[in-house]
């Protein structure tokens, strides 16, 4: 059985990998690429934290510091967070979960990887020839007129990568609509698919606005067309509107897939169907929809009208409701379940905790008068790292461990995995909780030097960051080790539900020996739950 031909052993020439249209191999290509970007972005973060150990800017110059945080933001947002779960786990799992042989457009899928790489290389090139110092937000008129760095190159890189996102989103939407196995109705879909579907809608509808905005920035800078240039009658705030019309929904691009993964994990390791399945499913769609109405909360002090501020603040409170629904339902799912603490479950629990802290701190920022105080301070930095790193990256690691046996056909060492999960949780909190305090004390973000009274919190944060760095490097070793020495995995090592577990690990190139048919609801643990509990 384990010697059977699978997608990994089919043909191992470099050429076959680079020209593959198999969604599973494209997913592996993405894995490799985003891991490289994760560590590049992480290296920038490490230097930032090192610099901030002392109030004087003594490690690097302020120009270098500005380039470091810009690079950290650009790489992490567009080349790690946005493609992370959808393009890797999603790419691998979506066709398996719906019982299809591949995505609807396999060649488009490969194209999107090449676009991603082209965008990534362009951005890296911009960094190597001197970097970009605008921050990931490219605010005008700084980016269009005043910056002396490689803005056009960096913007071009992101522009290209944007098309890669759009193609992935398009592929998922059509696939989920049209290639589901017989009997797999919408309410029988695992929640991971609902989340990815909602994510894809955002990818398809928001990314083009980023594309046109960045194009305008590049044209403004290269040719002086002046659309955002106040000295030519343009309005720099229009850039912010356009940018955040994409970039706020982009936050949901990052977190929704994480929520999807966590729904799978909580159900699997509680041996129970997700509580309030329909509510969790529709809350993903609600987040994707309402998420488009709230971008102006990034602009409460920017000079937009007070009335617009009221509208956006109101909508921002509304968008928090579906997230709250999800958290309550995950908790209720654990009620009267059979809970085991495998590594993925530890990540899932960590996700709920960190995401909740991040989400609740979001209320402070949605609240107009308080946002005026803490916007553009470390409070915001802490808030979005709790969501994106504490939430999204934790969920990514959880999902990676959960599907690792399916992807590689090997089991990882459980104790190492648990240790890494716990270490990440503590390292993360130690790094970012002090930043909430810094924000409440009024420490502005993107500061190379800072008043000495803030130092103690920065030192705590940097100490936490060193723990976090080690914790993030750990999986690289033990997962790498498991590739060669890990125990071979059965088709369904977690004894869980879902079509992806009904095919061998790793799956054959065409995914299923016989086309599956679905007759039951998702998370149907009625029989397996007790059985596994008794084994334990």
């Amino acid at each position: 059985m384990s010697e059977a031909r699978n997608y990994l052993t089919e043909d191992n020439s470099i050429r076959s990998w680079l020209l593959t249209t198999d969604h599973k191999r494209v997913a592996i290509l993405y894995f490799i690429a985003i891991t490289v970007f994760f560590f590049i972005g992480g290296a920038a973060a490490a230097l930032i934290r090192l610099e901030l150990l002392t109030p004087q800017g003594d490690l690097v110059t302020s120009d270098t510091y500005n380039r470091l945080f810009s690079m950290h933001g650009i790489i992490m947002v567009w080349f790690f967070l946005i493609p992370s779960i959808p393009s890797t786990l999603g790419n691998f799992i979506v066709p398996l979960m719906i019982g299809a042989r591949d995505l609807a457009f396999p060649r488009l899928n490969l194209t999107s990887w090449y676009l991603f790489i082209a965008g990534g290389l362009t951005t890296l090139y911009a960094i190597f020839v001197g970097g970009v110092d605008t921050g990931w937000t490219f605010y005008t008129p700084f980016s269009t007129i005043y910056s002396n760095s490689h803005v056009v190159l960096a913007v071009t890189g992101v522009f290209i990568a944007g098309f890669s996102s759009i193609l992935t989103g398009l592929n998922f939407i059509v696939t989920i609509h049209r290639l589901r196995a017989p009997g797999l109705t919408w309410y029988r879909l695992p929640l991971f698919l609902w989340s990815l579907y909602a994510t894809s809608v955002i990818l398809v509808l928001a990314t083009p606005v980023l594309a046109i905005t960045l194009l305008l920035v590049a044209l403004d800078r290269a040719f002086g067309i002046g659309i955002f240039d106040p000295s030519r009658g343009g309005d720099p705030l229009l850039f912010q509107h356009l940018f955040w019309f994409y970039s706020h929904p982009a936050v949901y691009i990052m977190i929704l897939p994480g929520m999807g993964v966590v729904s799978e994990l909580i159900a699997c390791y509680s041996r129970k169907a997700i509580f309030g399945y329909k509510f969790v499913a529709w809350s993903a769609i609600a987040i994707a929809g309402v998420g488009f109405f709230v971008w102006g909360h990034h602009m409460f002090v920017s000079g937009q009208s007070a009335f617009a501020g009221l509208v956006f603040s109101f909508m921002s409170f509304i968008v928090a409701v579906p997230s709250a629904i999800k958290v309550f339902n995950w908790t209720a799912t654990m009620h009267k379940g059979w809970i085991s603490y495998d590594a993925p479950m530890l990540y899932a629990l960590g996700f709920i905790g960190l995401f909740t802290v991040g989400g609740l701190s979001g209320l402070f920022l949605a609240c107009l008068a308080y946002d005026v105080y803490v916007t553009d301070t470390y409070f915001v930095v802490a808030h979005f790292h709790y969501i994106m790193v504490g939430g999204m990256v934790t969920a990514y690691f959880g999902g990676l461990h959960y599907w690792w046996p399916k992807i590689t056909g090997r089991l990882y060492p459980e104790y190492w995995a648990r240790a890494a999960a716990i270490l990440i949780f503590f390292g993360f909190n130690m790094t970012f909780f002090p930043q909430f305090i810094l924000g409440v004390l009024g420490m502005p973000r993107r500061y190379h030097t800072y008043p000495p009274e803030f130092q103690i919190w920065h030192v705590m944060s940097s100490t936490g960051a060193s723990i976090l760095a080690v914790a993030y490097a750990l999986p690289l070793f033990y997962l790498g080790w498991s590739l060669f020495f890990g125990q071979r995995a059965s088709a369904n090592p977690w004894q869980t539900t879902g079509l992806e577990w009904q095919t061998p690990s790793p799956p054959p190139t065409h995914n299923f020996e016989t086309p599956p048919e679905v007759k039951r609801k998702p998370y149907d643990f009625t029989t397996k739950g007790k059985a596994r509990a008794q084994n334990a």
Binding site: P95, A100, R101, D102, L103, A104, F105, P106, I166, L170, N171, I173, V174, H177, R178, L179, V204, L205, A206, T207, P208, V209, A211, I212, T213, L215, L216, L219, A222, F223, G224, I225, G226, I227, R232, G233, G234, D235, L238, H241, L242, F245, H510
Partner: protein
Amino acid sequence: MPEARPARQFVDLRQQHDVARLGMWVFIATEVLFFGGLILAYCVYRSGYPAEFAEAARHTKIVIGTANTAILLTSSFLVAWAVEAARLRESRFAALLLWTAALLGVVFLSLKGAEYAMEYHERLLPGLDFSFASPQAHAVHLFFSFYIVATGLHAVHVAVGIAVLVAVGIRAHQRAYLEAYHSPITVAGLYWHFVDLVWIFLFALIYLPGRSG
């Protein structure tokens, strides 16, 4: 005659055809927002500088604009006809229609080029050469910035569309498409119609304001 078979991820040709069309529609939704961002910028500035935008719009070449609109509408008609012909197994005739539509696309681009040349001589192209002797020059500059970016991006779409129509036409001519499998023509057609649709709105925004004042 080649046997038409679905790609491996599909059950049958019907599903494949359906998927292709849905994919194109999703892509069109993306494109709507791509141009939408630009149109938003236009709306904001037009609301801020109404008189200046009317003044600027009077400097666009409405004759060329109107002719180009008629040309694109006609080419769209031909493409829609080609889809119909392909359904009736008239592949060669469909190819002919597609090529004629592509030819009209080329005429559109040539006229557009001539228009750019005229505007260049009148120093109305921001980024290349712009000079406008009026106190409202800055808002006129904004208008023409929008004009050149919007029509430029549209022209890129037209150029891509021409290539697609020619390529699909060639394959139709080789009778590669059977009755049940005409989705490349339908999908290429959808794209071409969308390019036409964008132009309809650009025409109203760029050429028509300020004509009566």
